[in-house]
Symmetry: none
Subunit: 155 residues, 2 copies
Amino acid sequence: MGNLADRIEEYLKRILEQTSEGYIMLQRSELAGVFSCVPSQINYVLDTRFTVERGYLVESRRGGGGYLRIVRLELGLEGQYQQVMRQLIGEQLSRDRLNGLMERLVNEELVTLREAALIKSILSGDALSGEFRDWDVLRARLMKNILTTLSREDL
Amino acid sequence: MGNLADRIEEYLKRILEQTSEGYIMLQRSELAGVFSCVPSQINYVLDTRFTVERGYLVESRRGGGGYLRIVRLELGLEGQYQQVMRQLIGEQLSRDRLNGLMERLVNEELVTLREAALIKSILSGDALSGEFRDWDVLRARLMKNILTTLSREDL
DNA sequence: AAGTAGAAGGTCAGGAAAGGTCAATAAATG
DNA sequence: CATTTATTGACCTTTCCTGACCTTCTACTT
């Protein structure tokens, strides 16, 4: 584990643990400076190590005063939210199964009633019937996205 | 958020909150003086941060005794906000305008941070790029749908 | 009333300051 | 030796900042 990418990874995870906000902000070029490497190396580390699957979310902004923001997802809830849900959702998600899922999420108090109504209003697709190739596949993808968002530690 | 534009934005929002009239009046060159920048920088900030989507209106007058006037638009609590929003959204809704709208809804405390993140995660379309014919049109339709849902009394 | 000088604010193009992408190469691994 | 993983550098996009030049308004002069 002595290579550059691994060291940058460790470094980021260490300061990420020390913070209480659930996220850190930094500048790509600055970090590259610390490790004396090209800036794009940072992207490599972020792309390979700080993925959603591993429990992280990365946001950024370009231009003057730009930044990178690495958000940690709640590992505690990840069991409930992500692993279980992902398996449950699979590649496709029918309207009925969506409703079942939402009910369960509300019962377990992982989402509020309002949030549930919101999600259903979008994913039930009344407003959009006929727009998509395969609505069930889309619904599954969106639902995973939603769960990932809801497990952000900074919300 | 250390860059100039962000600082000017904060400054303006702060004095805008402290006033009771709902608007502020100031001179472009004077403000530019406060931040030691060129006057056109002020226009940049106004154009990018104080848009209608975000709930602001900017009026101005040239010539001797000219001024800038920034008006904060409140969304009436009476559910008329839906109409306002519908008009604002129109037939198409770009990502940038969506973000502006969401910021406003959060500011007005009509949606929570979580709800905002949720909506953005779906409508920003990262997960679905290439799926749709016209994503801006879709985004507008979905957003209207969402607002309708959120204005339900029983949630 | 007409003209004009000065005092605002407006526009736009260009450059600088971030971060992003991709393909070529090098290193490690099996 | 083959394949995956890491590293680099050239080039791109987005966001910000500045300065030159333009338009509008007021006030004053004639």
